[in-house]
């Protein structure tokens, strides 16, 4: 799980072009949107693509997005639960 979270942080920084940010600066429970990393709606779409590209997971229900993409922890839990 720790390795998965570290990989996720690197992938988020790379996929979202967060060049001013070090993956280590992202806390496991840090909110990804608004007051945390300050991601926007386009970033949310990029996170969906990230799940699909790196983990072969398609977000089945759009309304799950805010729960799944709340933090690195919630993303990792979703991946573990849905990885084939």
């Amino acid at each position: 799980m720790t390795e998965l979270k570290e990989n996720l942080k690197k992938q988020i920084v790379e996929q979202l072009n967060l060049k001013d940010l070090n993956p280590a600066d992202i806390g496991d429970d840090m909110p990804l949107f608004v007051e945390g990393l300050g991601l926007d709606s386009i970033d949310a779409l990029e996170l969906i693509v990230l799940l699909q590209q790196h983990y072969g997971i398609k977000l089945a229900k759009a309304e799950d997005g805010p729960i799944v993409f709340k933090s690195v922890n919630t993303m990792a839990e979703y991946i573990m639960a849905n990885k084939k």
Partner: protein
Amino acid sequence: MTKPEFTVTQYCRIRENTISKNGNALFNNPNEPFSRFADNAYRFLNMAYPKFHKMDNLSKLGLLASDIMLNNNNLWNKYTPFEVGVVLSNQNSSLDTDIKYYEQVKKGVASPAIFVYSLPNIVIGEICIRNGIKGENSFFISDHFNASQQVQYVNNLLKSNVVKACICGWIELMGNTYDAFLYLVEKSGDTKGSPFNIQTIEDLFNNKIE
């Protein structure tokens, strides 16, 4: 001599790895492809605007040029957000990004972050968001920089009081070939500058005015 009604108060040029403002070279970063040149210019200018890194190259070019041109301009001491317009043009529209998007689509999974830049007027949007501009804006596509058309169009905006100041110019990028020429037109007052007319704009574009 009659005072011109409108004046070009600032201008900026970015091309061939060099940035200049009002004819004076500010930054030179030779032999770098555009993406690295832009990143190095961003650091040189201390822009502190993380969204810059998410932009396509056309928007990066426009944002760099507008940041440099508007630096220390005190635009908001003189105008409200709705009184400043943006009128730009180029040759290749957003083709540089369109091709990148098309290449991704062919592979199966396309990036939404690239898709949102597949229109040329997005660069205007980025300039407006960065500077809080809410006035009239337009983007024209033409084979070459058409000073006559731009001067006529912007004159109409200014004379009809649609805007009181306008950021204008040419923002062209295709691969590692790029040319940004931005200028600011304002109602003539105490600010120094060149008269806003076709000859001035052609001369500035062709580097005939230092």
